[in-house]
Symmetry: C2
Subunit: 256 residues, 2 copies
């Protein structure tokens, strides 16, 4: 089996545990309850990767959740991080801020309170991007001009921030909090590029497209990147009202 | 005119500015762009009140927004705080975290990273409370059992936290970040209490009801409290699909 492993030998692509599967015993290593395609859980993974924190992954089948999940994450959502046995933190941004405080190496949030606030504003402002994807996938009939306008307004805002800051990444010469927290939307945007409503017009979004290219080269991003075809195929299930196949990447990798 | 003023002579109930109204000149004092009935803007006001920061209020008519609002808050939302001329911060939780960092007196967030994370989890977990209110007000036909169950799950979670912590407030012997950030939902809950779906059963929620009573006595809360009848009347407009009357409180106060 040729599962992707990162430099610290983390296997991201292990099987997603479901109802009936036992809870793997906690061995003291920081653990992430994850779903391989979840953009929110990806934020936590990106922060861990960027900061080179040692961790292990427990993937969760979100359709058929293991019974013990609510003992780790009260609302049975991912991501959750387990920092000591049965001491867990959840909500993606909360996990990342915690990690950034406790592991000071490679700080992600700016130290200056105003710059920190502006980074968080960018993250909040990016919400309509992900909202549009969710609507297209799950409630396609309800997508209206207002949703698409909000999507473009969010993109315009981010591009404007990039332009004003004049740096390769929002957070400077290497990605930081704002970059990693909004990256999952941009990774998915590539899988929706066939959709006229989502597509980034090169004439209008040249700076943003260049930014996406730069982000793709970052090692925290690239080591967790899902091949575009797999990402598209995974999301197809939603539009077809089928059960998403969490093991798609594993099956693909095994076939080699 | 007997407008309510707090001890530092802040008038919360000034007229809501609308299209055509000029931008009041910035005089160097920290300013809040606010809407008197907005639960998100209330978070910022509560933090300012609790920390006894000197500030002024500019109320905004959110139906007929002043042209200059987007120069202060890119997405034309409240709250926004102006910390120096044309330097603004928006998104309620972002403003509060900024204020808590820059004004260290009476810290609202716990200093310990894990406790801080748990406070933020409570705030995130409270979201279904406000969501249910919004749905009841604006999309009453769409309210289903799932929404009501999520509402009760959020309440249960908060009550459980209170019980486990064993303190008068979530943050100890006086309210802190978690308490103030979720308070706007509890203030509104009182105005929806006639609705079976919202009402807190005393046998099930005695601890939470006691907590609400204690919060009502806090001075940061009480100085900004809207009389229950006014709050109910303001919200009636939504269910009747009428324009909400932002000056309701002023009109009421003037009639005395």
């Amino acid at each position: 089996m040729s599962a992707i492993k990162d430099s610290r030998n983390i296997n991201f692509n292990i099987k997603h545990l479901r109802k009936g599967d036992p809870l793997p015993p906690f061995n003291g290593k920081l653990r992430v309850y994850n779903m391989r395609y979840c953009p929110y859980a990806q934020r936590t993974i990106l922060a861990l990767n960027a900061k080179q924190i040692d961790y292990e992954v427990v993937n969760i089948d979100l359709i058929d959740k293991p019974e013990w999940l609510t003992t780790k994450s009260a609302f049975a959502k991912v991501p959750a991080i387990e920092i000591a046995e049965d001491v867990t933190i959840y909500e993606s941004l909360v996990t990342v801020e915690y990690l950034d405080e406790v592991y000071p190496k490679r700080p992600l949030l700016p130290q200056d309170p105003l710059k920190k606030a502006l980074d968080k504003i960018i993250v909040e402002a990016s919400a309509p991007i992900q909202s549009l994807f969710i609507k297209i996938l799950k409630f396609s009939d309800t997508v209206n001009e207002e949703h698409v306008a909000a999507y473009h307004k969010a993109l315009d805002f981010i591009q404007e921030q990039l332009k004003n800051r004049g740096t390769v990444f929002l957070d400077g010469s290497e990605p930081g909090y704002a970059d990693y927290m909004i990256w999952p939307w941009f990774e998915r945007l590539r899988a929706f590029a066939h959709d006229e409503r989502v597509r980034l017009e090169p004439s209008k979004y040249s700076l943003l497209l260049e930014y996406i290219d730069n982000m793709l080269k970052d090692s925290a991003v690239s080591q967790y990147l899902i091949p575009l075809e797999i990402l598209a195929k995974f999301h197809e299930a939603y539009t077809k009202k089928e059960r998403p196949n969490y093991e798609l990447l594993n099956e693909c990798l095994k076939s080699f």
